[in-house]
Protein backbone atom coordinates (compact mmCIF):
# COMPACT_ATOMS: atom_id res chain seq x y z
CA UNK A 1 0.00 0.00 0.00
CA UNK A 2 1.15 3.57 -0.80
CA UNK A 3 3.86 1.92 -2.90
CA UNK A 4 5.33 0.22 0.17
CA UNK A 5 5.85 -3.47 0.60
CA UNK A 6 4.07 -5.30 3.40
CA UNK A 7 6.84 -5.01 5.97
CA UNK A 8 7.37 -1.29 5.49
CA UNK A 9 3.65 -0.61 5.46
CA UNK A 10 3.30 -2.44 8.78
CA UNK A 11 6.10 -0.32 10.22
CA UNK A 12 4.44 2.89 9.01
CA UNK A 13 1.11 1.75 10.42
CA UNK A 14 2.72 0.90 13.75
CA UNK A 15 4.36 4.32 13.97
CA UNK A 16 1.07 6.00 13.02
CA UNK A 17 -0.81 4.14 15.75
CA UNK A 18 1.85 4.94 18.36
CA UNK A 19 1.87 8.59 17.39
CA UNK A 20 -1.92 8.92 17.46
CA UNK A 21 -2.20 7.15 20.82
CA UNK A 22 0.83 8.91 22.32
CA UNK A 23 -1.24 11.02 24.75
CA UNK A 24 -2.39 7.73 26.35
CA UNK A 25 0.82 5.73 26.00
CA UNK A 26 3.03 8.43 27.44
CA UNK A 27 0.75 9.02 30.41
CA UNK A 28 0.57 5.57 32.02
CA UNK A 29 0.56 6.83 35.61
CA UNK A 30 -2.38 8.52 37.36
CA UNK A 31 -2.04 12.20 38.26
CA UNK A 32 -0.70 12.80 41.73
CA UNK A 33 0.83 9.33 42.09
CA UNK A 34 4.52 9.00 42.93
CA UNK A 35 5.25 7.82 39.38
CA UNK A 36 3.45 10.73 37.71
CA UNK A 37 6.71 12.54 37.17
CA UNK A 38 7.60 9.86 34.61
CA UNK A 39 4.59 10.83 32.54
CA UNK A 40 5.67 12.36 29.27
CA UNK A 41 2.24 12.93 27.80
CA UNK A 42 2.15 16.70 28.04
CA UNK A 43 1.93 18.77 24.83
CA UNK A 44 5.27 20.51 25.05
CA UNK A 45 7.28 17.29 25.32
CA UNK A 46 5.16 15.32 22.86
CA UNK A 47 5.69 18.08 20.29
CA UNK A 48 9.41 17.89 20.90
CA UNK A 49 9.36 14.10 20.39
CA UNK A 50 7.92 14.34 16.90
CA UNK A 51 9.81 17.48 15.87
CA UNK A 52 13.17 16.05 16.85
CA UNK A 53 12.01 12.80 15.27
CA UNK A 54 11.71 14.67 11.95
CA UNK A 55 15.13 16.26 12.49
CA UNK A 56 16.70 12.85 13.14
CA UNK A 57 14.89 11.12 10.24
CA UNK A 58 16.32 13.74 7.88
CA UNK A 59 19.79 13.55 9.39
CA UNK A 60 19.71 9.79 8.94
CA UNK A 61 19.13 10.17 5.18
CA UNK A 62 22.54 11.84 5.00
CA UNK A 63 24.49 10.10 7.76
CA UNK A 64 22.79 6.71 7.70
CA UNK A 65 22.79 6.24 3.94
CA UNK A 66 25.85 8.06 2.61
CA UNK A 67 27.98 7.89 5.76
CA UNK A 68 28.78 11.61 5.56
CA UNK A 69 28.75 12.83 9.17
CA UNK A 70 27.55 16.42 9.32
CA UNK A 71 28.23 18.34 12.51
CA UNK A 72 26.32 21.38 11.40
CA UNK A 73 22.72 20.39 10.93
CA UNK A 74 21.49 22.65 13.72
CA UNK A 75 22.27 25.57 11.39
CA UNK A 76 19.55 24.40 9.00
CA UNK A 77 17.16 23.96 11.89
CA UNK A 78 17.94 27.51 13.01
CA UNK A 79 17.65 29.00 9.53
CA UNK A 80 14.31 27.25 9.11
CA UNK A 81 13.15 28.67 12.42
CA UNK A 82 14.12 32.23 11.51
CA UNK A 83 12.41 31.90 8.14
CA UNK A 84 9.25 30.66 9.83
CA UNK A 85 9.14 33.44 12.40
CA UNK A 86 9.58 36.05 9.69
CA UNK A 87 6.63 34.56 7.83
CA UNK A 88 4.64 34.93 11.02
CA UNK A 89 5.78 38.51 11.46
CA UNK A 90 5.24 39.64 7.89
CA UNK A 91 2.57 37.41 6.37
CA UNK A 92 0.28 35.54 8.69
CA UNK A 93 0.18 33.60 11.94
CA UNK A 94 -1.09 30.62 9.96
CA UNK A 95 1.59 27.91 10.25
CA UNK A 96 1.33 26.67 6.65
CA UNK A 97 3.38 29.44 4.96
CA UNK A 98 5.79 29.46 7.89
CA UNK A 99 6.51 25.73 7.60
CA UNK A 100 6.62 25.82 3.82
CA UNK A 101 9.08 28.71 3.66
CA UNK A 102 11.26 27.24 6.42
CA UNK A 103 11.77 24.12 4.28
CA UNK A 104 12.60 26.16 1.17
CA UNK A 105 15.02 28.51 2.91
CA UNK A 106 16.79 25.69 4.73
CA UNK A 107 17.01 23.82 1.42
CA UNK A 108 18.69 26.77 -0.33
CA UNK A 109 21.05 27.30 2.59
CA UNK A 110 22.00 23.63 2.76
CA UNK A 111 22.62 23.64 -1.00
CA UNK A 112 25.24 26.37 -0.50
CA UNK A 113 26.83 24.73 2.54
CA UNK A 114 26.75 21.28 0.96
CA UNK A 115 28.20 22.53 -2.31
CA UNK A 116 31.32 23.68 -0.46
CA UNK A 117 31.56 21.07 2.30
CA UNK A 118 31.14 18.09 -0.01
CA UNK A 119 34.42 18.91 -1.71
CA UNK A 120 35.94 16.96 1.14
CA UNK A 121 34.94 13.73 2.81
CA UNK A 122 35.47 12.08 6.17
CA UNK A 123 36.65 14.20 9.07
CA UNK A 124 37.29 17.24 6.85
CA UNK A 125 33.69 17.25 5.73
CA UNK A 126 32.54 17.08 9.37
CA UNK A 127 34.79 19.97 10.35
CA UNK A 128 33.63 22.10 7.41
CA UNK A 129 29.98 21.62 8.34
CA UNK A 130 30.78 22.36 11.97
CA UNK A 131 32.56 25.55 10.92
CA UNK A 132 29.59 26.66 8.84
CA UNK A 133 27.17 26.02 11.69
CA UNK A 134 29.29 27.91 14.19
CA UNK A 135 29.67 30.80 11.75
CA UNK A 136 25.89 30.88 11.34
CA UNK A 137 25.50 30.88 15.10
CA UNK A 138 27.98 33.72 15.57
CA UNK A 139 26.45 35.74 12.77
CA UNK A 140 22.97 35.28 14.20
CA UNK A 141 24.28 36.45 17.56
CA UNK A 142 26.15 39.51 16.31
CA UNK A 143 26.10 41.22 12.93
CA UNK A 144 22.79 39.77 11.79
CA UNK A 145 20.97 41.10 14.84
CA UNK A 146 18.53 43.15 12.71
CA UNK A 147 17.33 39.89 11.13
CA UNK A 148 17.77 37.47 14.00
CA UNK A 149 17.14 39.57 17.07
CA UNK A 150 20.59 38.69 18.37
CA UNK A 151 20.66 37.65 22.00
CA UNK A 152 17.00 38.28 22.65
CA UNK A 153 15.82 36.32 19.64
CA UNK A 154 12.57 36.89 17.80
CA UNK A 155 8.91 36.69 18.69
CA UNK A 156 5.76 37.78 16.87
CA UNK A 157 4.69 41.18 18.16
CA UNK A 158 1.32 42.89 18.13
CA UNK A 159 2.79 45.65 15.99
CA UNK A 160 4.08 43.35 13.20
CA UNK A 161 2.56 44.05 9.76
CA UNK A 162 1.15 40.53 9.05
CA UNK A 163 -0.39 41.59 5.74
CA UNK A 164 -2.66 38.56 5.32
CA UNK A 165 -4.16 38.67 8.82
CA UNK A 166 -6.61 41.40 9.80
CA UNK A 167 -5.71 43.69 12.66
CA UNK A 168 -5.81 42.00 16.02
CA UNK A 169 -8.62 42.73 18.44
CA UNK A 170 -7.65 45.03 21.26
CA UNK A 171 -5.52 43.25 23.83
CA UNK A 172 -5.25 40.08 21.75
CA UNK A 173 -1.82 38.52 21.22
CA UNK A 174 -0.75 36.87 17.96
CA UNK A 175 -1.09 33.09 18.23
CA UNK A 176 0.09 30.47 15.77
CA UNK A 177 -2.84 28.70 14.14
CA UNK A 178 -3.88 26.45 11.31
CA UNK A 179 -6.80 28.24 9.64
CA UNK A 180 -8.05 29.36 13.03
CA UNK A 181 -7.17 26.22 14.99
CA UNK A 182 -4.72 27.46 17.59
CA UNK A 183 -1.59 25.34 18.00
CA UNK A 184 -1.65 25.86 21.74
CA UNK A 185 -5.24 24.69 22.19
CA UNK A 186 -5.74 21.38 23.94
CA UNK A 187 -8.58 19.08 24.81
CA UNK A 188 -8.20 17.51 28.21
CA UNK A 189 -9.86 14.28 29.13
CA UNK A 190 -9.93 13.16 32.71
CA UNK A 191 -10.61 9.47 33.39
CA UNK A 192 -10.36 8.21 36.94
CA UNK A 193 -7.05 9.49 38.20
CA UNK A 194 -5.67 9.94 34.72
CA UNK A 195 -5.53 13.13 32.73
CA UNK A 196 -4.97 12.87 28.98
CA UNK A 197 -4.15 15.96 26.94
CA UNK A 198 -4.86 16.12 23.21
CA UNK A 199 -3.03 19.10 21.80
CA UNK A 200 -3.78 20.54 18.36
CA UNK A 201 -0.18 21.51 17.74
CA UNK A 202 1.03 18.02 18.60
CA UNK A 203 -1.30 16.40 16.10
CA UNK A 204 -0.32 18.85 13.36
CA UNK A 205 3.36 18.08 14.02
CA UNK A 206 2.59 14.36 14.24
CA UNK A 207 0.91 14.32 10.82
CA UNK A 208 3.88 16.16 9.32
CA UNK A 209 6.19 13.64 10.99
CA UNK A 210 4.27 10.70 9.54
CA UNK A 211 4.53 12.21 6.05
CA UNK A 212 8.26 12.81 6.63
CA UNK A 213 8.69 9.22 7.81
CA UNK A 214 6.79 7.87 4.82
CA UNK A 215 8.99 9.85 2.44
CA UNK A 216 12.09 8.57 4.17
CA UNK A 217 10.91 4.97 3.65
CA UNK A 218 10.36 5.69 -0.04
CA UNK A 219 13.85 7.17 -0.34
CA UNK A 220 15.39 4.19 1.46
CA UNK A 221 13.76 1.74 -0.97
CA UNK A 222 14.36 3.72 -4.17
CA UNK A 223 17.25 3.45 -6.65
CA UNK A 224 18.35 6.85 -5.33
CA UNK A 225 18.58 5.44 -1.80
CA UNK A 226 20.57 2.46 -3.08
CA UNK A 227 23.03 4.82 -4.77
CA UNK A 228 23.44 6.67 -1.46
CA UNK A 229 24.22 3.39 0.30
CA UNK A 230 26.66 2.62 -2.51
CA UNK A 231 28.42 5.93 -1.80
CA UNK A 232 28.90 4.81 1.79
CA UNK A 233 29.97 1.31 0.80
CA UNK A 234 32.54 2.01 -1.94
CA UNK A 235 32.86 5.37 -3.59
CA UNK A 236 35.72 4.17 -5.79
CA UNK A 237 33.59 1.46 -7.37
CA UNK A 238 30.76 3.94 -7.80
CA UNK A 239 33.00 6.32 -9.76
CA UNK A 240 34.27 3.50 -11.94
CA UNK A 241 30.71 2.33 -12.55
CA UNK A 242 29.93 5.55 -14.37
CA UNK A 243 28.10 7.22 -11.50
CA UNK A 244 28.86 10.71 -10.26
CA UNK A 245 28.86 10.58 -6.45
CA UNK A 246 28.80 14.35 -5.93
CA UNK A 247 25.23 15.17 -7.01
CA UNK A 248 23.97 12.12 -5.08
CA UNK A 249 25.63 13.22 -1.85
CA UNK A 250 24.60 16.83 -2.44
CA UNK A 251 20.99 15.79 -3.00
CA UNK A 252 21.08 13.78 0.23
CA UNK A 253 22.60 16.76 2.04
CA UNK A 254 19.91 19.12 0.77
CA UNK A 255 17.10 16.69 1.57
CA UNK A 256 18.35 16.27 5.12
CA UNK A 257 18.80 20.05 5.38
CA UNK A 258 15.18 20.49 4.31
CA UNK A 259 14.07 18.00 6.96
CA UNK A 260 16.02 20.05 9.53
CA UNK A 261 14.37 23.23 8.25
CA UNK A 262 10.98 21.54 8.51
CA UNK A 263 11.73 20.67 12.13
CA UNK A 264 12.80 24.26 12.77
CA UNK A 265 9.65 25.61 11.18
CA UNK A 266 7.50 23.30 13.26
CA UNK A 267 9.30 24.39 16.42
CA UNK A 268 8.29 27.95 15.66
CA UNK A 269 4.77 26.86 14.82
CA UNK A 270 4.46 25.21 18.24
CA UNK A 271 6.31 27.76 20.32
CA UNK A 272 6.52 31.10 18.54
CA UNK A 273 10.06 32.17 19.37
CA UNK A 274 13.59 31.68 18.09
CA UNK A 275 17.00 32.23 19.63
CA UNK A 276 20.44 31.77 18.16
CA UNK A 277 21.31 29.04 20.69
CA UNK A 278 19.20 26.74 18.54
CA UNK A 279 22.14 26.71 16.10
CA UNK A 280 24.85 26.07 18.68
CA UNK A 281 27.13 23.12 17.92
CA UNK A 282 25.76 21.08 20.83
CA UNK A 283 22.41 21.07 19.04
CA UNK A 284 24.15 19.61 15.97
CA UNK A 285 25.83 17.03 18.18
CA UNK A 286 22.52 16.06 19.72
CA UNK A 287 21.05 14.87 16.43
CA UNK A 288 24.19 12.77 15.84
CA UNK A 289 23.65 11.16 19.24
CA UNK A 290 19.99 10.54 18.43
CA UNK A 291 20.85 8.73 15.19
CA UNK A 292 23.57 6.59 16.75
CA UNK A 293 21.59 5.82 19.89
CA UNK A 294 18.56 4.72 17.88
CA UNK A 295 20.42 2.94 15.08
CA UNK A 296 22.20 4.59 12.15
CA UNK A 297 20.85 3.70 8.76
CA UNK A 298 17.68 2.09 10.09
CA UNK A 299 14.27 3.54 9.35
CA UNK A 300 12.84 3.79 12.84
CA UNK A 301 16.10 4.13 14.80
CA UNK A 302 16.49 7.92 14.66
CA UNK A 303 12.91 8.42 15.86
CA UNK A 304 13.56 6.11 18.81
CA UNK A 305 16.84 7.87 19.55
CA UNK A 306 15.18 11.29 19.43
CA UNK A 307 12.45 10.06 21.77
CA UNK A 308 14.91 8.51 24.22
CA UNK A 309 17.10 11.62 24.44
CA UNK A 310 14.23 14.09 24.71
CA UNK A 311 12.62 11.91 27.37
CA UNK A 312 15.77 11.86 29.45
CA UNK A 313 16.37 15.56 28.93
CA UNK A 314 12.91 16.46 30.17
CA UNK A 315 12.10 13.77 32.71
CA UNK A 316 15.42 12.77 34.30
CA UNK A 317 16.43 16.41 34.65
CA UNK A 318 13.29 17.15 36.65
CA UNK A 319 14.11 14.70 39.44
CA UNK A 320 15.68 16.51 42.37
CA UNK A 321 17.10 15.63 45.78
CA UNK A 322 13.76 15.76 47.60
CA UNK A 323 12.26 13.25 45.21
CA UNK A 324 15.22 10.94 45.71
CA UNK A 325 14.75 11.16 49.49
CA UNK A 326 11.11 10.18 49.02
CA UNK A 327 12.11 7.15 46.94
CA UNK A 328 14.65 5.87 49.42
CA UNK A 329 12.65 6.84 52.51
CA UNK A 330 12.02 3.19 53.36
CA UNK A 331 15.77 2.70 53.94
CA UNK A 332 17.44 3.31 57.31
CA UNK A 333 18.58 6.95 57.60
CA UNK A 334 22.31 6.48 57.03
CA UNK A 335 21.88 4.21 54.02
CA UNK A 336 19.23 6.52 52.59
CA UNK A 337 21.70 9.40 52.55
CA UNK A 338 24.39 7.26 50.95
CA UNK A 339 22.02 6.03 48.24
CA UNK A 340 20.77 9.53 47.53
CA UNK A 341 24.28 10.91 47.20
CA UNK A 342 25.21 7.98 44.92
CA UNK A 343 22.28 8.48 42.57
CA UNK A 344 22.20 12.27 42.72
CA UNK A 345 24.99 12.94 40.17
CA UNK A 346 22.99 11.07 37.53
CA UNK A 347 19.75 13.03 37.78
CA UNK A 348 18.67 16.63 37.63
CA UNK A 349 21.37 18.67 35.96
CA UNK A 350 23.48 15.52 35.82
CA UNK A 351 21.22 13.84 33.26
CA UNK A 352 23.97 14.30 30.69
CA UNK A 353 26.06 11.86 32.70
CA UNK A 354 23.33 9.23 32.43
CA UNK A 355 22.99 9.95 28.72
CA UNK A 356 26.75 9.58 28.31
CA UNK A 357 26.79 6.21 30.06
CA UNK A 358 23.85 4.90 28.07
CA UNK A 359 25.45 6.16 24.87
CA UNK A 360 28.70 4.38 25.68
CA UNK A 361 26.92 1.14 26.53
CA UNK A 362 24.94 1.27 23.30
CA UNK A 363 27.96 2.00 21.11
CA UNK A 364 30.01 -0.78 22.73
CA UNK A 365 27.42 -3.52 23.15
CA UNK A 366 24.75 -2.58 20.59
CA UNK A 367 26.51 -0.95 17.63
CA UNK A 368 23.21 -1.08 15.76
CA UNK A 369 21.57 1.06 18.43
CA UNK A 370 18.22 0.55 20.12
CA UNK A 371 16.93 -1.08 16.93
CA UNK A 372 19.54 -3.81 17.22
CA UNK A 373 18.57 -4.23 20.88
CA UNK A 374 14.96 -4.71 19.82
CA UNK A 375 15.96 -7.21 17.13
CA UNK A 376 17.98 -9.24 19.64
CA UNK A 377 15.04 -9.40 22.04
CA UNK A 378 12.73 -10.38 19.18
CA UNK A 379 15.15 -13.14 18.15
CA UNK A 380 15.21 -14.49 21.71
CA UNK A 381 11.44 -14.88 21.65
CA UNK A 382 11.44 -16.38 18.17
CA UNK A 383 13.94 -19.04 19.14
CA UNK A 384 11.71 -20.14 21.98
CA UNK A 385 8.53 -20.28 19.94
CA UNK A 386 9.22 -23.21 17.59
CA UNK A 387 10.20 -25.34 20.56
CA UNK A 388 6.78 -24.79 22.11
CA UNK A 389 4.94 -25.39 18.86
CA UNK A 390 6.63 -28.74 18.46
CA UNK A 391 8.14 -30.18 15.31
CA UNK A 392 5.03 -29.51 13.21
CA UNK A 393 5.03 -25.81 14.10
CA UNK A 394 4.74 -23.66 11.03
CA UNK A 395 7.84 -21.69 10.20
CA UNK A 396 7.35 -17.99 10.67
CA UNK A 397 8.22 -15.89 7.65
CA UNK A 398 11.57 -14.20 7.91
CA UNK A 399 11.42 -10.52 8.80
Amino acid sequence: MFGLDKKDFRLLLLVAVLVVLAPFLLNPFPEGSAMAQFNAGYPDLMQRFVIFGIFAIGFNILFGLTGYLSFGHAAFLGVGSYAAIWMMKLLTMNVIPAIFVSVIVAGIFSLAVGWISLRRSGIYFSILTLAFAQMSYSLAYSVLTPITGGETGLQPKVTDPRILDGTLANGATPKANLFGLEMGSSFEWSVGGWLFTFNAGYYVAAIVMLVAFYMSIRIFRSPFGMMLRAVKSNQQRLNYTGLNAKPYTLAAFVISGMYAGLAGGLMVAMDTQVGAERMFWTASGEVVLMSILGGVGTLIGPVLGAGAIKYMENILSKINKEILHQWFAFMPDGIEDILVSLVYPFIGKGWHLTLGIIFMLVVIFLPGGLVEGGQRVARLFKRKKPAEDGPDGKTTPAE
Partner: protein, 254 residues
Protein backbone atom coordinates in the same frame (compact mmCIF):
# COMPACT_ATOMS: atom_id res chain seq x y z
CA UNK B 1 43.59 2.30 -35.91
CA UNK B 2 42.96 0.65 -32.59
CA UNK B 3 40.08 1.32 -30.25
CA UNK B 4 42.57 2.66 -27.72
CA UNK B 5 45.45 4.84 -28.93
CA UNK B 6 48.07 5.96 -26.43
CA UNK B 7 50.56 8.43 -27.89
CA UNK B 8 53.76 9.77 -26.28
CA UNK B 9 52.31 9.55 -22.78
CA UNK B 10 54.68 10.62 -19.98
CA UNK B 11 54.09 10.96 -16.28
CA UNK B 12 56.50 12.19 -13.63
CA UNK B 13 56.11 11.94 -9.86
CA UNK B 14 58.62 14.38 -8.40
CA UNK B 15 62.01 13.00 -9.36
CA UNK B 16 60.64 9.71 -10.65
CA UNK B 17 59.85 9.39 -14.33
CA UNK B 18 57.11 6.77 -13.99
CA UNK B 19 56.21 6.79 -17.67
CA UNK B 20 58.69 7.89 -20.28
CA UNK B 21 57.25 7.94 -23.74
CA UNK B 22 54.55 5.33 -24.06
CA UNK B 23 52.95 4.50 -27.37
CA UNK B 24 50.36 1.80 -27.42
CA UNK B 25 47.62 0.74 -29.77
CA UNK B 26 45.01 -1.76 -28.71
CA UNK B 27 43.09 -3.28 -31.62
CA UNK B 28 39.36 -3.79 -31.32
CA UNK B 29 38.12 -7.19 -30.13
CA UNK B 30 41.52 -8.46 -29.05
CA UNK B 31 43.03 -9.36 -25.73
CA UNK B 32 46.05 -7.18 -25.19
CA UNK B 33 48.29 -7.83 -22.20
CA UNK B 34 50.68 -5.35 -20.67
CA UNK B 35 53.44 -6.99 -18.70
CA UNK B 36 56.59 -5.79 -17.06
CA UNK B 37 58.62 -6.07 -13.89
CA UNK B 38 57.63 -4.25 -10.70
CA UNK B 39 57.88 -0.50 -11.03
CA UNK B 40 57.68 -0.63 -14.81
CA UNK B 41 54.76 1.81 -14.79
CA UNK B 42 51.94 -0.61 -15.61
CA UNK B 43 49.56 0.69 -12.96
CA UNK B 44 50.46 4.32 -13.70
CA UNK B 45 49.61 3.73 -17.34
CA UNK B 46 46.29 2.13 -16.42
CA UNK B 47 45.44 5.02 -14.10
CA UNK B 48 46.12 7.42 -16.96
CA UNK B 49 43.63 5.53 -19.11
CA UNK B 50 40.74 5.66 -16.61
CA UNK B 51 41.10 9.25 -15.45
CA UNK B 52 42.60 8.61 -12.05
CA UNK B 53 45.83 10.28 -13.18
CA UNK B 54 46.35 12.92 -15.82
CA UNK B 55 49.54 12.36 -17.85
CA UNK B 56 52.00 15.24 -18.14
CA UNK B 57 52.46 14.78 -21.86
CA UNK B 58 50.88 12.89 -24.73
CA UNK B 59 47.35 11.88 -25.61
CA UNK B 60 44.98 9.01 -24.90
CA UNK B 61 42.24 8.45 -27.44
CA UNK B 62 39.39 6.01 -26.99
CA UNK B 63 37.32 5.32 -30.08
CA UNK B 64 38.47 8.60 -31.61
CA UNK B 65 37.76 10.71 -28.51
CA UNK B 66 40.28 12.01 -26.02
CA UNK B 67 39.83 10.75 -22.45
CA UNK B 68 42.25 13.29 -20.97
CA UNK B 69 40.71 15.70 -18.48
CA UNK B 70 37.62 13.59 -18.06
CA UNK B 71 36.53 12.23 -14.67
CA UNK B 72 36.56 8.45 -14.06
CA UNK B 73 32.74 8.24 -14.22
CA UNK B 74 32.71 10.09 -17.56
CA UNK B 75 35.33 7.77 -19.01
CA UNK B 76 33.32 4.81 -17.78
CA UNK B 77 30.23 6.16 -19.50
CA UNK B 78 32.28 6.32 -22.73
CA UNK B 79 32.59 2.54 -22.56
CA UNK B 80 35.69 1.72 -20.50
CA UNK B 81 35.17 -0.49 -17.44
CA UNK B 82 37.89 -1.26 -14.94
CA UNK B 83 38.47 -4.29 -12.72
CA UNK B 84 40.71 -3.60 -9.73
CA UNK B 85 43.59 -5.54 -8.26
CA UNK B 86 41.63 -6.18 -5.08
CA UNK B 87 37.98 -6.68 -6.02
CA UNK B 88 36.08 -3.42 -5.53
CA UNK B 89 32.43 -4.18 -4.89
CA UNK B 90 29.74 -2.73 -2.65
CA UNK B 91 30.39 -4.85 0.42
CA UNK B 92 27.42 -3.71 2.51
CA UNK B 93 24.95 -4.33 -0.31
CA UNK B 94 23.46 -7.61 -1.48
CA UNK B 95 24.82 -9.36 -4.57
CA UNK B 96 21.65 -8.46 -6.46
CA UNK B 97 21.95 -4.78 -5.51
CA UNK B 98 25.58 -4.84 -6.58
CA UNK B 99 24.49 -6.03 -9.99
CA UNK B 100 21.61 -3.56 -10.23
CA UNK B 101 23.81 -0.49 -9.76
CA UNK B 102 25.75 -0.84 -13.05
CA UNK B 103 22.45 -1.62 -14.81
CA UNK B 104 21.04 1.67 -13.53
CA UNK B 105 24.26 3.46 -14.49
CA UNK B 106 24.06 2.05 -18.02
CA UNK B 107 20.41 2.99 -18.52
CA UNK B 108 20.05 6.21 -16.51
CA UNK B 109 23.47 7.80 -16.78
CA UNK B 110 25.74 9.37 -14.19
CA UNK B 111 23.03 10.94 -12.02
CA UNK B 112 19.29 10.30 -11.87
CA UNK B 113 17.53 11.24 -8.65
CA UNK B 114 15.04 8.42 -8.96
CA UNK B 115 13.59 8.59 -5.45
CA UNK B 116 9.95 7.69 -5.95
CA UNK B 117 9.97 4.17 -7.26
CA UNK B 118 10.78 0.95 -5.46
CA UNK B 119 14.03 -0.26 -7.01
CA UNK B 120 12.85 -3.88 -7.07
CA UNK B 121 9.74 -2.86 -9.04
CA UNK B 122 11.87 -1.65 -11.95
CA UNK B 123 11.29 -4.75 -14.11
CA UNK B 124 13.80 -3.83 -16.79
CA UNK B 125 16.65 -3.40 -14.32
CA UNK B 126 15.71 -6.43 -12.20
CA UNK B 127 15.52 -8.68 -15.26
CA UNK B 128 18.82 -7.42 -16.63
CA UNK B 129 20.56 -7.87 -13.26
CA UNK B 130 19.09 -11.37 -12.84
CA UNK B 131 20.25 -12.32 -16.32
CA UNK B 132 23.77 -11.10 -15.55
CA UNK B 133 23.81 -13.06 -12.29
CA UNK B 134 22.75 -16.17 -14.24
CA UNK B 135 25.57 -15.64 -16.70
CA UNK B 136 28.03 -15.31 -13.85
CA UNK B 137 26.60 -18.43 -12.17
CA UNK B 138 25.76 -16.38 -9.12
CA UNK B 139 21.97 -16.55 -9.11
CA UNK B 140 21.98 -18.60 -5.90
CA UNK B 141 23.94 -15.93 -4.05
CA UNK B 142 21.38 -13.26 -5.03
CA UNK B 143 20.49 -12.17 -1.50
CA UNK B 144 23.87 -12.74 0.12
CA UNK B 145 25.83 -9.87 1.50
CA UNK B 146 28.56 -9.20 -1.06
CA UNK B 147 31.24 -8.76 1.61
CA UNK B 148 30.80 -12.35 2.82
CA UNK B 149 31.77 -13.96 -0.51
CA UNK B 150 35.09 -15.62 -1.28
CA UNK B 151 37.71 -13.61 -3.11
CA UNK B 152 37.17 -15.58 -6.29
CA UNK B 153 33.45 -14.91 -6.19
CA UNK B 154 34.00 -11.23 -5.46
CA UNK B 155 36.19 -11.07 -8.57
CA UNK B 156 33.50 -12.87 -10.55
CA UNK B 157 30.89 -10.40 -9.32
CA UNK B 158 33.10 -7.43 -10.11
CA UNK B 159 33.69 -8.66 -13.66
CA UNK B 160 29.95 -9.30 -13.99
CA UNK B 161 29.20 -5.77 -12.82
CA UNK B 162 31.56 -4.40 -15.46
CA UNK B 163 29.99 -6.56 -18.18
CA UNK B 164 26.49 -5.46 -17.17
CA UNK B 165 27.44 -2.05 -18.55
CA UNK B 166 28.34 -3.61 -21.91
CA UNK B 167 31.69 -1.84 -22.06
CA UNK B 168 33.67 -1.78 -25.31
CA UNK B 169 36.95 -1.94 -23.43
CA UNK B 170 37.49 -3.93 -20.25
CA UNK B 171 40.64 -3.10 -18.29
CA UNK B 172 41.86 -5.64 -15.77
CA UNK B 173 44.53 -4.81 -13.21
CA UNK B 174 46.18 -8.06 -12.10
CA UNK B 175 42.83 -9.86 -11.89
CA UNK B 176 44.31 -12.99 -10.34
CA UNK B 177 46.67 -11.37 -7.82
CA UNK B 178 46.59 -13.17 -4.51
CA UNK B 179 44.34 -15.95 -5.78
CA UNK B 180 44.63 -19.66 -5.21
CA UNK B 181 45.42 -21.74 -8.31
CA UNK B 182 41.87 -23.01 -8.66
CA UNK B 183 40.42 -19.48 -8.46
CA UNK B 184 43.02 -18.30 -10.97
CA UNK B 185 42.03 -21.01 -13.45
CA UNK B 186 38.35 -20.20 -12.96
CA UNK B 187 39.08 -16.56 -13.70
CA UNK B 188 41.02 -17.50 -16.84
CA UNK B 189 38.12 -19.65 -18.02
CA UNK B 190 35.69 -16.84 -17.31
CA UNK B 191 37.77 -14.34 -19.27
CA UNK B 192 38.16 -16.79 -22.18
CA UNK B 193 34.42 -17.24 -22.22
CA UNK B 194 33.86 -13.47 -22.20
CA UNK B 195 36.31 -13.05 -25.06
CA UNK B 196 34.62 -15.76 -27.13
CA UNK B 197 31.04 -14.69 -26.50
CA UNK B 198 31.20 -10.92 -26.65
CA UNK B 199 32.37 -8.13 -28.90
CA UNK B 200 34.72 -6.74 -26.34
CA UNK B 201 38.30 -5.54 -26.20
CA UNK B 202 40.19 -6.68 -23.13
CA UNK B 203 43.34 -5.09 -21.87
CA UNK B 204 45.02 -6.87 -19.01
CA UNK B 205 47.90 -6.05 -16.70
CA UNK B 206 49.28 -9.18 -15.16
CA UNK B 207 52.24 -10.64 -13.33
CA UNK B 208 51.21 -14.25 -13.70
CA UNK B 209 52.69 -15.54 -16.98
CA UNK B 210 50.32 -18.48 -16.97
CA UNK B 211 47.40 -16.07 -17.15
CA UNK B 212 49.05 -13.87 -19.77
CA UNK B 213 49.94 -16.69 -22.16
CA UNK B 214 46.54 -18.36 -21.71
CA UNK B 215 44.65 -15.26 -22.78
CA UNK B 216 46.65 -12.65 -24.63
CA UNK B 217 46.71 -12.18 -28.40
CA UNK B 218 49.12 -9.23 -28.23
CA UNK B 219 51.61 -8.45 -25.50
CA UNK B 220 53.35 -5.18 -24.71
CA UNK B 221 56.35 -5.40 -22.43
CA UNK B 222 56.91 -2.32 -20.32
CA UNK B 223 60.20 -1.62 -18.57
CA UNK B 224 61.20 1.53 -16.72
CA UNK B 225 58.26 3.46 -18.04
CA UNK B 226 58.76 2.75 -21.73
CA UNK B 227 57.47 -0.05 -23.98
CA UNK B 228 60.31 -2.44 -24.71
CA UNK B 229 58.62 -4.51 -27.36
CA UNK B 230 55.14 -5.36 -28.62
CA UNK B 231 54.41 -8.65 -30.33
CA UNK B 232 52.46 -11.92 -30.31
CA UNK B 233 52.85 -14.20 -27.28
CA UNK B 234 54.97 -16.71 -29.21
CA UNK B 235 57.47 -14.09 -30.28
CA UNK B 236 57.55 -12.49 -26.83
CA UNK B 237 58.45 -15.81 -25.23
CA UNK B 238 61.64 -16.06 -27.22
CA UNK B 239 62.54 -12.40 -27.38
CA UNK B 240 66.04 -11.85 -25.96
CA UNK B 241 65.36 -8.30 -24.75
CA UNK B 242 62.31 -9.45 -22.85
CA UNK B 243 64.15 -12.33 -21.27
CA UNK B 244 66.78 -9.96 -20.15
CA UNK B 245 64.39 -7.42 -18.66
CA UNK B 246 61.78 -9.64 -17.24
CA UNK B 247 61.44 -13.28 -18.02
CA UNK B 248 64.96 -14.23 -17.12
CA UNK B 249 63.90 -14.94 -13.57
CA UNK B 250 60.58 -16.61 -14.36
CA UNK B 251 61.35 -18.89 -17.29
CA UNK B 252 59.61 -21.83 -15.64
CA UNK B 253 56.34 -19.91 -15.34
CA UNK B 254 56.40 -19.13 -19.04
Amino acid sequence: MGILEVKNVGKRFGGLQALGDVNLSVAENTVHAIIGPNGAGKSTLLNCLVGKLIPDTGSVMFDGQSVLGRKPYEINQMGISRVFQTPEIFGELSVMENMMIPCFAKRDGAFTPNAFIDMFKDREIVERAEQMLEEMNMADARNDNAATMSRGNKRRLEIGMCLAQEPRLLLLDEPTAGMARADTNNTIDLLKQIKDERDITISIIEHDMHVVFSLAERITVLAQGTPLVEDTPDNIKGHPKVREAYLGETQDAA
